[in-house]
Amino acid sequence: MAAATLRSAGFDRAVLLVVPAAAFMLLLFVYPFIYGLVLSFEPKTGGALANYHKFFTTSNLWPTIGTTLKLAVPATIINVFIAVPIAYRMRVRSRWQRIATALLVVPITLGTVLIAEGMLTYFGPRGWLAQFLQVTHLYDGSIRLTHNYWGVLISLVVSGFPFTFLLILSYITGIDPVLARAAATLGADPKAQFRHIYLPLLAPGLAMCFCLAFVQAFSVFPSAVLLGAPAGPTRVISIAAYEAAFEQYDYSLASAIAMIMGFVQLLIVAFVLSLRGWFYKGPVTGGKG
């Protein structure tokens, strides 16, 4: 207790600033989360694990994990790996950077419904794209980009790319450009500068960005309903949860599904973040740190 005298009143008080936010989180996030967890173990019928058992044995429930992953993972990979070269190209602060960034970020404003409507109209079988392809004889046949897997994937890319791009651009511009200049004087051409300087320094941020983008994509809901085929190929896990809650009024099952959803997601996030730890140590081979 004597050591406490070293800490002046000002020091302690600053830490207290965390309390309101932390309390809020505990109350409105942790508590409901635990409540939901407990609820998932109290099914309408059957033992504690009945909900989970039901999930993994019902044929329109457990495949939703795979379906959602099949949508979320490619969408995230596309988003991240297209964003990186584009953001790298635009790392120099210029008028072009601002204009292009503003344009590429506009899809944030669209909202899922507009994207869905837009895609249905534009990519639909009688939309402009179809008419364009027909008129130019580039593709004679009907295009099927809506009400299926591809529609949802495209909408995930359109809605997810701006956010991913913005985040990666921030990370890239946070890397001191003098490092690339130093590498240039040592003989590194732009490709080598990217590979040896930017990429290793970017890796931790990339991993974080991947996780955030993946979370967004994995939670896909309105797009899957409006643009997909919710009965079959795009029956994502959030649809299953929603149905359980608001159509079958089985909140316990819904909580169970929500828990499974969260768990799968955390698994993937943890995996990616562990990769990041490995990657970061990579360039320092042989070092004891």
């Binding site: 200049r181 130093a182 590498a183 003989g187 590194a188 051409d189 080598a192 040896h196 290793p200 320092v284």
Partner: protein, 363 residues
């Protein structure tokens, strides 16, 4: 790029920037310079004088607005930095934070395609040269400023470049470390014998390190000369001011004969050496504090009566500030003890009174 060269030639190198408000200004204005093999050149000047711009242009990090840079008979200003083969030490070291010391130093060699087995002994040799053996596996973040500095130097020299560029490498070090590292740089230069272009705003560094000094101001070269020349015979008033000629007095011209100018004001009469063509009725006179002495015996000319204003003790000698009857202030260094308020006579030899055109608006 060749490892040896005869000369690096900058020919009227100019670099324009669009300034605030849209008007372009020349950060670097027609710099012409020839650097010979093994020569140590210092680019010296205050902030904003264009010295770092010049260095970046030579390195290839900034394109030229006009002019050419040539290495013997090859024109290099059209080459990107990765093909010029010069070594560069940056002001903030620019060590790659995710690479160990050894990997940082070996980076340039690896970029040339050398296999790791051949890189290692060269890295070890460079580490020995900067006296950092044993630090190979540390990350830059774990080193002190002085150590980071030496890693940056090692990284630049290990590729055995024909030319080494240094951008104010000592400015982030404390005073003692600065002196030590300065000696290190000189020692390394003598051992390697590579041409070096060194940017600094510190005249002591330039004087002690350089074979030739290029004094710059506002993007324009003011003087190119050996340290002795720049120190003792500054080409104009700006160089004089920068090189420590702290006493600059604006006086009316009384007459001139054979390059010797007589200047006369009610409180002082001086004879000095004309350094530049004079115009008008007044001239600016520059004198070093070290060359003004308190007169212990009467001298023929160049004696000024003044009253001691205050004395700053400096150990070996003191910095004495005196005021003349006309209110002009002079600074001088003296080992003679004087008290504040005392009336003294100060003397400066005519050859050390340098006369330049008046700047307009006297002191």
């Amino acid at each position: 790029m060749k490892h040896d060269f005869s000369e690096l030639r900058l020919d009227r190198v100019t670099r324009r920037f669009a300034g605030a408000g849209g008007n372009a200004f020349n950060a670097l204005n027609e710099l012409s310079l020839t650097v010979r093999r093994g020569e140590f050149i210092a680019l010296l000047g205050p902030s904003g004088c264009g010295k770092s711009t010049a260095l970046n242009c030579i390195a290839g990090l900034l394109p030229l607005s006009s002019g050419t840079i040539g290495l013997d008979d090859t024109r290099i200003d059209t080459l990107p930095p990765e093909r010029r083969g010069f070594g560069m030490v940056f002001q903030n070291y620019a060590l790659f934070p995710h690479m160990s010391v050894a990997k940082n130093i070996g980076f340039g060699l690896r970029m040339r395609g050398m296999p790791q087995a051949d890189v290692a002994p060269r890295v070890a040799k460079a580490l020995r040269l900067v006296q950092l053996t044993g630090q190979e596996h540390k990350l830059p973040g774990q080193l002190s400023g002085g150590q980071q500095q030496r890693v940056a130097i090692a990284r630049a020299i290990v590729i055995e470049p024909p030319l080494i560029l240094m951008d104010e490498p000592l400015s982030n070090l404390d005073a003692k470390l600065r002196l030590e590292t300065r000696s290190e740089i000189l020692r390394i230069h003598r051992e390697l014998g590579r041409a070096t272009i060194y940017v600094t705003h510190d005249q002591d560094e330039a004087l002690s390190l350089a074979d030739r000094i290029v004094v710059m101001k506002d993007g324009v070269v003011q003087q190119i000369g050996t340290p002795e020349e720049v120190y003792a015979q500054p080409a104009n008033i700006h160089v004089a001011r920068f090189m420590g000629y702290r006493n600059v007095v604006d006086l009316p011209i009384a007459g001139e004969r054979d390059g010797h100018v007589t200047l006369e004001a009610p409180d002082m009469k001086l004879v000095g050496v004309r350094k530049l063509p004079l115009d008008g009725k007044r001239a600016a006179v520059a004198m070093r504090p070290e060359e003004i002495a308190i007169a212990t015996e009467p001298a023929a000319s160049n004696v000024i009566a003044a009253r001691v204003d205050h004395v700053e003790y400096g150990g070996r000698d003191s910095l004495v500030e005196v005021v003349t009857a006309g209110g002009k202030r002079l600074h001088l260094r003296s080992s003679t003890k004087v008290a504040a308020g005392a009336n003294v006579y100060v003397h400066v030899p005519p050859e050390r009174v340098l006369v330049y055109p008046s700047e307009g608006g006297g002191i």
